[in-house]
């Protein structure tokens, strides 16, 4: 069975600095997706960034980028120029397109932004 592990329950970063959130996963599949979702306090969870496993190039969305290491089964999220609005729970997630897009989530990392 696939698993997603986030080993950092909480992290803090100074405003305007860069922070990296870690995620590891386990799967025997070669075709899959990885995601980072953001859940702000009392607000809906939204997709931050997505990475297809067959793509070697790391995904980037504005200030958000990933470091995808397929062999190591590692998928970290880097947030550059951190802003107060980045404060949230961040969930790493794994998706299996061969199983009707079943998505499983890690336990999350709570990110605090220090002004």
């Amino acid at each position: 069975a696939q698993t997603v592990t986030q080993s950092q329950p909480e992290m803090s970063v100074q405003e305007a600095e860069t922070v990296t959130l870690s995620c590891t996963y386990d799967t025997s599949e070669s075709d899959y997706y990885l995601f980072w979702y953001k859940q702000p306090p009392s607000r809906q969870m939204i997709l931050v960034i997505r990475q297809e496993a067959y793509k070697q190039q790391n995904a980037t969305e504005n200030r958000f980028s990933v470091n995808f290491q397929k062999a190591a089964k590692s998928f970290s999220l880097k947030i550059s120029d951190s802003q107060l609005g980045d404060a949230a729970m961040y969930f790493c997630a794994y998706g299996d397109p061969n199983r009707d897009d079943k998505i499983i989530f890690g336990k999350g990392t709570r990110l605090h932004i220090l002004p």
Binding site: R43, Q44, M45, G95, P97, D101, K102, I104, F105, G108
Partner: protein
């Protein structure tokens, strides 16, 4: 475009009582998910529908939880009888499976407290 609608937002019940949550996904989204998010943990998939058929309900406690998706649109999740450990936020999400796979659109959630 209207988002995923959920109701009620909050519900407090005594153990052994029953409760029902309703979800209206984004129009045209074929896939609907119910997740259970216990405080401090990541979302756990309870059931996944593709149109009005069940794709995955392997983690649904079927002795007390039931879910249906009539006509492939709205969905209802029911708990009967509730236990203390059912206290959680119940998240509904939908996706357009054949487009942007893995991008789930979440509702605001229904927070259940079982006393």
């Amino acid at each position: 475009e209207a988002g995923v609608a959920q109701s009620p937002r909050y519900k407090i019940i005594e153990k052994r009582q029953s409760v029902a949550f309703w979800c209206n996904p984004i129009s045209g989204h074929a896939t609907l998910y119910w997740y259970q998010q216990i405080l401090g943990q990541g979302p756990k998939l309870l059931i996944q529908f593709q149109n009005n058929g069940v794709v995955d309900d392997s983690q649904l406690p079927k002795d007390r939880f039931s879910a249906e998706r009539l006509k492939g649109v709205d969905s209802t999740l029911k708990i009967q009888p509730a236990k203390l450990e059912d206290s959680a936020v119940y998240l509904c999400a939908s996706s357009l499976i054949s487009w942007n796979p893995g991008e789930l659109f979440f509702g605001e959630g229904s927070r259940l407290t079982v006393l």
